[in-house]
Symmetry: C2
Subunit: 195 residues, 2 copies
């Protein structure tokens, strides 16, 4: 399913529950796990992403993280237009590299008003603009875990071709240098590959 199809599915059926299951076998090989801020995750060799009904029948994993692809929280109409024009979907055959970056934000972030969070997110930190600058090479999907009582507020999943690995490093380096990231109190960077 590419991101346009996913958007259509979202519009017709609502949020999609997604589980990221780490275990001894799976679709993606875990190449490395780096704790960027705070505690890391237990060691596993493989990861599988399960969507919708599949996501509820996960067993015998080292760990499972869950999130829902919800409505946009900060993205304005003109930005959605630019994203739709430039982004590509998940599952491209050439995209054999992936990253899962679980993030938790501080209580101070969550107690901010909507206008304050939007200002930090985009006007000061350019989160959407930085993402746009790396399209279409880096495909991305955001999953929300906070309202599900998950340990992480967000799970962002990225897919790219090996020749865009440097673009991806540039993207995460830029985001981590922003004012928004001062509100991140846990971040784990999981890099993956498939043949």
């Amino acid at each position: 399913m590419n991101s346009i199809e996913h958007q259509l599915e979202y519009e017709s059926r609502g949020p999609l529950l997604v589980s990221f299951a780490a275990a001894d076998s799976g679709i993606w090989k875990i190449d490395r796990v780096t704790p960027v801020i705070g505690e890391t995750l237990p060691t596993a060799t493989h990861l599988t992403m399960l969507e919708g009904k599949q996501s509820q029948s996960v067993a015998n994993t080292t760990w499972t993280l869950r999130g829902v692809t919800s409505d946009v929280r900060y993205t304005n109409r003109h930005e959605i237009g630019e994203l739709k024009e430039r982004q590509q979907g998940l599952g491209r055959s050439e995209a054999t590299r992936a990253a899962l970056i679980p993030i938790r934000k501080t209580a101070a972030w969550w107690s901010l008003a909507q206008d304050e969070r939007r200002a930090i997110f985009e006007e000061q930190s350019h989160h959407i603009a930085v993402g746009l600058a790396h399209l279409p090479a880096i495909a991305r999907r955001l999953h929300h875990g906070r309202d599900l009582s998950e340990p992480f507020d967000f799970l962002t999943w990225f897919e790219y071709a090996p020749e865009h690995s440097r673009d991806f490093e540039d993207l995460v380096t830029q985001l981590r240098a922003t004012r928004e990231w001062q509100y991140v109190d846990r971040e784990v960077d999981i890099r993956l590959s498939r043949v």
Copy 2:
């Protein structure tokens, strides 16, 4: 716990999961259930609101609806200031009347951008301003169900003293006449009382 204490709890511990359990007995007596838009809910005589860990051990109910008190999605800083100054918490001894109003919004609403939803919600429909005009008489708490795959996107719980019943009718009548309500495709109005 009043709403300021709840706010502090939220800021320190995150979203609170709340279950509204309808059954043959309970803290609140159900006086009437009116389907405003779309399908109604099965008949029951009593309702109990269960918070946090309690909310997960609900059994033998006619129906149970769940939601989380999440971060604000549309409220700006100046509005939060006015709300904090004027609102009162749940559980006031004189507030022996209550309403639970579950609402679902259309796919069209959820596919709007953040700036479009905020404009309809407040600049056009004055949702926050209408609520403010009925403070402190009508205490209120919003619970989000959409990301939990619940049948309703929102559960709003209201508490007020019998002498403010007309204020409450005025509040819901005003909200239902707004442009925002054109995006509501299911609404049930449940009125309750306790001694």
